[in-house]
């Protein structure tokens, strides 16, 4: 880790610890996630989804909202407060700045998701012997980390092109959900799948992961997409120095 990357990372990470909006984001995420988890348990557990699938869905569905709120101030916030200009006028590669900010945001999102283990442990405590083993969450946890990686990279890209933080947040959601719909459409029309479950990528991934399987194409897609988004971010920042 070079000096600039390290400096930016620590600045972003420690400032997030004192950020009121970050805690509001965490609270919103856990409210949504908890509500989804409880509701889905009542409605779907044992009928067509396992507890692991429900937990994974309850974390994965509100994740884009949390990521868009965490990443929206990264560059768009600096632009709106004016601190982006002194940043871009430094004789340093903006790629280091972008990666430092990305790592700090990714850790924030991961810490936020880790809080979702609390309802899981509460449930295990209540169910006692009937509870599924915590080890069965390994697959879903890896999948959620992959989701967090690609969503965070997309959020950083959105923040690098938006002039206002809320535009960046909306951009992250629109681009991410739009890409998912596009992927589903391609899967439906060209690959001969159907809309109900297996061909819809996020559901397919979650059903696989909650059964303990992570497919190679899932790993390649998320890591590849994340790297592509970061590359686009760096190119955008460098191209807009003046």
């Amino acid at each position: 880790m070079n000096a600039i990357l390290r400096t930016v990372f620590f600045r972003e990470f420690f400032s997030s610890l004192y950020s009121r909006s970050r805690y509001v984001t965490f609270a919103l995420f856990h409210s949504l996630s908890g509500a989804l988890f409880c509701t889905a348990l009542q409605l779907a557990e044992g009928k067509f989804w396992t507890i692991q699938t429900i937990w994974t869905l309850a974390v994965a569905l509100p994740l884009p909202i949390a990521v868009s709120l965490v990443t929206m101030p990264v560059f768009a916030g600096e632009r709106s407060t004016g601190t982006y200009e002194p940043l871009k006028m430094l004789p340093i590669p903006l790629g280091d700045v972008a990666i430092g900010k990305f790592i700090a945001s990714f850790i924030s999102v991961t810490v936020c998701m880790a809080g979702s283990l609390v309802p899981w442990f509460v449930l295990c405590h209540v169910l006692k012997d009937r509870a599924p083993s915590t080890a069965s969450l390994a697959g879903p946890a890896v999948l959620l980390l992959l989701h967090a990686f690609s969503w965070t990279a997309l959020g950083i890209f959105s923040s690098s092109v938006a002039r206002h933080p809320w535009v960046a947040a909306a951009g992250t959601l629109v681009m991410g959900l739009g890409l998912m719909m596009l992927w589903s459409a391609i899967s439906h029309f060209w690959l001969g799948g159907n809309w109900l479950s297996a061909s819809f990528p996020i559901l397919e991934e979650i059903l696989d992961a909650s059964g303990g399987h992570i497919r190679l194409h899932t790993v390649v897609f998320h890591i590849g997409f994340g790297i592509l988004a970061l590359f686009a971010t760096i190119r955008t920042l460098e191209a807009n120095r003046t």
Binding site: R11, E85, M89, I92
Partner: protein, 249 residues
């Protein structure tokens, strides 16, 4: 050192800079002119904060706009908005900026200590920058811009919000580095610089209407002027204003 050749910058139909040319050496340079004259645009364009539509800016033979970001090692610019990280204290803000500029920790400390004395920042060191007054923000911004040794230091409205003693401190700080650094100040208060030698650029409607030396040693036709800046600027500006009002009529 800094050569500006036929610099043009347009915003839509408005011409902010209409073929400005000049060359400057290390020292103080005051850029004056009425509101909308193109002072900010000139500073932003010659420092690489904005690109030019045509013309060239070279610093020691290097094309400024073609050498971004390398050229930012030699140029520092502070805009009139004075952007600061409002969640950090003054000291932390300066340390963070120093680290981003690649300074070693010991060098940052020494530099901040020096600037804190020069700009009277010690009483506000622990304050968050978000809670500072406009004048205090300006002093922190000036310290930020002066953290590293650069060839060109450009500051937009350096005296805005500063009281008389702090404006004098800032002037002294600029004068102290002007032997090796070109300090370009876009200001409405050129009178604050009248005791130090330098160059004045008078802009009006994007046109350079006057370019002359000022200060205690400045000469005009062999005669020394104890405080020649203000009358010269006044003459140049009044000539422009009368021309502008005639055109408006």
């Amino acid at each position: 050192m800094l050569e500006v050749e036929k610099l043009v910058r347009r915003y839509g139909d408005t011409s902010a800079l209409a073929g400005v040319s000049f060359s400057l050496n290390p020292g103080i340079c005051a850029v004056v002119g009425p509101n909308g004259a193109g002072k900010t645009t000139l500073l932003r364009t010659i420092t690489g904060a904005e690109c030019a539509d045509s013309g060239s800016v070279t610093l020691d033979g290097m094309d400024v706009h073609a050498s971004i970001p390398r050229i930012f090692r030699h140029i520092s610019y502070l805009s009139d908005r004075v952007p600061l990280y409002t969640d950090l204290s003054v000291e932390d803000h300066l340390i963070y900026r120093g680290r981003l500029r690649g300074l070693a920790p010991l060098r940052i400390r020494a530099r901040i200590r020096h600037l804190a004395e020069a700009l009277d920042l010690k009483p506000i060191f622990a304050k968050r920058t978000g809670s500072l007054s406009a004048g205090q923000r300006k002093r922190v911004g000036i310290a930020d811009a002066m953290l590293t040794d650069v060839r060109v230091l450009a500051i937009d409205e350096p005296f805005e919000g500063l009281d008389a003693p702090h404006a004098a401190l800032a002037t002294t700080a600029f004068a102290s580095i002007s032997r090796h650094t070109l300090v370009i100040l876009a200001t409405h208060r050129p009178d604050l610089l009248s005791n130090i030698p330098g160059t004045c650029l008078v802009l009006a409607s994007g046109v350079l209407v006057a370019h002359f030396p000022f200060g205690p040693d400045a000469k005009d036709g062999g005669q020394e002027h104890p405080a020649p800046l203000s009358p010269r600027i006044a003459d140049a500006l009044s000539a422009f204003y009368s021309h502008g009002s005639e055109a408006a009529q």
